[in-house]
């Protein structure tokens, strides 16, 4: 692994948008350059720095995490659902107009349930994609919320998927009932996946 790849693999574990990413990258690059200039082999330098994930976790341990307020989480969910709903409604409206002008024939009636199912799957799929890649959906971004592992690092694709299982299984409300009664304000599936939603202001994780 080259020095740059090592640095990249460390910051890959730090959530997008945190100023810490740039800081860690600069710091580690400077350190690797310093040790290289002193004649040390890259393998030894990387051994000294340790496992990239552990190093990212050590940095993030200094960043206190504040649970995102429940109402902000709810509002974020409504915004996301609204966006997906609007897109689905737009597509349905175009189909309806096409049906009215006889372009679609009798197809429109059985297209409707497909639109509804697609909207639900699109909502869940978008949430999985956005939380995995960016640590937040549009709604969460607007409300200053980020999804991270319990130790503050980025969530994996598997965790992003498992977090959404209550939507697939239609037991989201039971899952969400855990939020007010858990220390870190986690849903049941957040406890299982060891992830959580934290408050963020202007790219900085809120201080407690």
């Amino acid at each position: 692994m080259t020095g740059n790849l090592y640095v990249q693999s460390v910051i890959d574990h730090i959530p997008e948008g945190l100023p810490l990413r740039d800081q860690v990258a600069m710091e580690l690059r400077a350190h690797i350059a310093e040790r290289t200039a002193n004649g040390q082999p890259l393998e030894e330098i990387q051994r000294q720095l340790g496992d990239p994930r552990r190093l990212a976790e050590s940095y993030l341990a200094s960043v206190p995490l504040t649970p995102a307020p429940i109402f902000a989480r709810l509002a974020a969910k409504i915004i996301d659902a609204g966006i997906i709903g609007l897109i689905a409604a737009g597509i349905a409206a175009v189909s309806y107009l096409a049906w009215r002008s006889k372009v679609l024939g009798g197809v429109f009636y059985w297209l409707l349930p497909i639109y509804i199912i697609s909207a639900v799957l699109g909502f869940v799929g978008y949430t999985i994609f956005a939380e995995y890649h960016f640590g937040r959906t549009i709604g969460k971004k607007l409300l200053g919320i980020r999804v991270v592992r319990e130790n503050g690092t980025r969530i994996s694709l598997g965790q992003a998927f498992l977090r959404q299982l209550p939507f697939f299984g239609q037991f989201f409300f039971i899952d969400a009932l855990f939020v007010p009664f858990t220390e870190k304000r986690q849903r049941a599936f957040e406890l299982i996946t060891k992830t959580r939603a934290v408050a963020v202001v202007l790219g900085l994780v809120l201080l407690t």
């Binding site: 860690v24 600069m26 400077a30 310093e34 040790r35 200039a37 340790g50 190093l55 341990a61 200094s62």
Partner: protein
Amino acid sequence: MLRENGRSDDRSGIERELKRGSLELIVLHLLEAGEAYGYEIVTKLTTQSNGALGVTDGTLYPVLYRLERSGFVAVRWDTPERGVPRKYYRLTVAGREELARLKSEWNAFATAMAKLLGQERPS
């Protein structure tokens, strides 16, 4: 054999915990003499303790970040046109106060331990 290995692991565990617990004090103490960059701190730590207190770079940098976040050290970047860019750390006023507090705590702890271990074993 297993038992011996277990004991050896316990010893290294205690050493690790002691180092971890005192690393902030050590770093603040090393910076008391003047500003220094990361690699310099690692080198000083190893040479001044004859290797006994050597830590890995991966342990030191998060501690420096923690001290920076807490306002105990201030940083500046030196980026020469040629050569390696360096991030220098120096003690702040709050850092000096924290150092004094940690030293006092450490001395009280070390004195208590010395007193305890210096006592004769009860028969």
